[in-house]
């Protein structure tokens, strides 16, 4: 190793003195756009919360690796300032209020309507925009909030495409039962499912409203075995969905169609159940095989490739949703030619763009357009989720009626 003598030291010091003024302006050039919020990195919603967070991180990294974004001729680097709300709405509201007090202008959503709802009320009061891909409860969108935008259609509208799917099944199912839990999302979606399915001509045999955290559904299974509807619709969260399916298998409760809005989209769920996961249907809001074009990433497929290159966590549609929240902000800022919260909010409200998540447009109440952003229907086949509805997005034919648990291979 060369010895750092007096001459070399003087040379280095001189070079540093000359370079310093050049470095400083370079640092000062890029301003910062801070995206605040909270997300469940622990607690009951952590599994999907982590997926959403990975989406946020991936998009931020992507933009910063490209040198930031340019808004109205000025260069900005993006900064993500998310905190773990531990799936606790009370903690989330404290975290959001603190960030409002610190002057953060733009917010990303947590996961779970029970958290998004109270945090959105805070950002609304402060007139700061929030774009989220984690809350679909109607209560978020029917309170006249102007600054809250959700990628998902509100819960009661999320079943429109599902009913069309049920109608398309041959032979057409006649009866259905609904299992929901007593939380803002599951209950609203369950009630929406009942109304929409009844309007679609299906007959309700039973509806079960369970506590938010389920440990046993044996009595539900006994009732299902007694009446055996053609379809069992679960509007439950991931862990609860898995528990229900496990108990269905273990108590030999067979139905021609098991449909869960959340759960089977997760690899953990499918790995746990193995062959038994086959033929279970799930709402799918995004698939990397879809031909969506994106101004920044190129396409849904290219986003997926970029994500997999930089992450080891399996890609889920919530991840793509999280990343899209960031790209929507950039779209809105570019359109508004401003980084002022009010201008960005106005631009978001009229945004109609193609993204890696598909074409995004918000309703006047801020939720995602039910036609453009409504779910497709997936079915687990050979351990993977294949799209079975609508016909335009199909990657496989529907397996119906589902084989009995004992006959699954």
């Amino acid at each position: 190793m060369a010895k750092l003598g007096r001459r070399n030291f003087v040379k280095l010091a001189g070079a540093a003195a000359v370079a310093a003024p050049l470095i400083r302006p370079a640092q000062a050039q890029a301003k910062k756009l801070v995206f605040g919020g909270s997300v469940p990195l622990s607690g009951r919603a952590a599994e999907t919360g982590l997926n959403v967070h990975h989406g946020y991180q991936t998009a931020i990294k992507f933009f910063n690796d490209k040198g930031g974004v340019e808004i109205a001729g000025e260069k900005y680097m993006l900064e993500l300032r998310m905190f773990d709300d531990a799936s606790d709405p009370a903690r989330a509201t404290t975290l959001i209020q603190r960030q409002i007090d610190e002057g953060v202008d733009f917010y990303l959503g947590s996961f779970g309507s029970n958290i998004v709802l109270p945090t959105a009320a805070i950002t609304e009061r402060a007139k700061k925009p929030m774009v989220q891909a984690g809350g679909g409860s109607d209560q978020i969108f029917n309170q006249g909030f102007r600054y809250v935008f959700g990628l998902f259609p509100r819960a009661t509208k999320q079943f429109i495409s599902s009913v069309e799917f049920f109608k398309s099944i041959a032979p057409r199912p006649k009866t259905f039962a609904v299992i929901m839990t007593n939380d803002a999302f599951s209950k609203t979606q369950g009630e929406g499912a009942i109304n929409d399915c009844k309007a679609g001509g299906f007959e309700l045999t039973d509806s079960f409203q369970l506590p938010e955290q389920i440990t046993d559904v044996s009595s539900v299974m006994a009732s299902l075995r007694a009446k055996t509807p053609d379809m069992v619709i679960c509007t439950t969260h991931d862990q609860n969905s898995l528990l229900i399916t496990r108990q269905m298998i273990a108590s030999n409760t067979n139905v021609p169609l098991l449909y869960q809005t959340l759960g089977p989209q997760l690899q953990t769920y499918r790995e746990t159940l193995g062959k038994y996961a086959g033929a279970i249907c799930v709402q799918i809001y995004w698939d990397d095989r879809a031909a969506y074009k994106d101004k920044f990433f190129g396409s849904a497929g290219q986003f997926a490739a970029y994500y997999r290159q930089h992450n080891t966590r399996p890609l889920a549609y919530h991840t793509a949703g999280g990343a899209t929240c960031i790209t929507l902000y950039v779209h809105a800022m570019e359109a508004a030619k401003s980084t002022k919260p009010d201008a960005v909010r106005d631009a978001l409200a009229v945004l109609d763009v193609d993204t890696l998540y598909g074409r995004v447009k918000f309703t006047a109440q801020g939720d995602g357009d039910a036609i453009l952003l409504g779910p497709a229907i997936g079915q687990v086949q050979k351990g993977q989720v294949e799209l079975v509805f609508p016909a335009s997005a199909k990657t496989a034919g529907l397996i119906y009626p589902s084989p009995k648990w004992t006959e699954k291979t």
Binding site: L41, R44, L50, Q213, S219, D238, A250, W405
Partner: protein
Amino acid sequence: MQLVLQTLVDGLVLGGLYSLAAIGFSLIFGVMNVVNLSHGVIVLIGAYLSYFFWQTLGVDPLLSIPPVMAVLFCLGYVYQRGLIQLAVDRSSLVASMLVTFGVALMLRNLLVLIFSPDFKSITPSWAFTFFVIGPVTVDLVRISALCASLVLLSLLALALHRTGIGRVIRATAQQDLAARLCGVDVRHVYGLTFGMSAAFAGASGAILGIVMPFSPPDEVHWTINAFVVVTLGGVGSPSGALLGGLLLGVISTATSQAIGPAFPNVMMFLILVVMLLVRPAGLLGNAFSGSR
């Protein structure tokens, strides 16, 4: 009739799990008068250890119960002697509640760090096996959970009533001063009791992991459940925990069937309040310090 029978069987099976999960809590409360708010997280550590053995070594979850119990016995002993005893010595029994609450928070986050917050599930090859007896369908997982619970609770009852260390534990629970006067090393007995409690909590965790998916935040649920079971059945005895657990299981499934699946928790806490008012020592309560 078929539905009633099925509900009863489901309730008993669920109750077996509740009993085993609560016995450790009952023992610590009965002997040391300590309300262990980290009980639920110890149950979950048992579940995660069993998951670890199953994932990495392919050990069947039921066979992993002895090593899980051994590990948790040691951890429980050290936890009591190194932390809880210190808190009780320096302050009061209330301090032990704060300490166990703090430890529960820390351990819960440690589990998140080690195993990720994603839910886990132990599914051995026989996890989805079921059999039909007459009009009743019973799944093998739950019936094995009930059998394992009964065996373990019987072993604990035997240990407490037929062995020397059991006699010493009971003596300490009844009157620690008298036990000291008789030359019993009460601190060591407290450590052993805590170790045994942690071991049984761990065993219930291993069984719980086969029955349902689990994740770190579930610990609160298992602490509350244990509290209700102990209040119902009585403090400090395996028979009390067994009775309390089975009753709670049957009440839970019967409420779910008769009133609605949203109401088991309502009924559970209603019974808790009634029991605290009418019979605070529980159905099989005894004169151990926790129930005095």
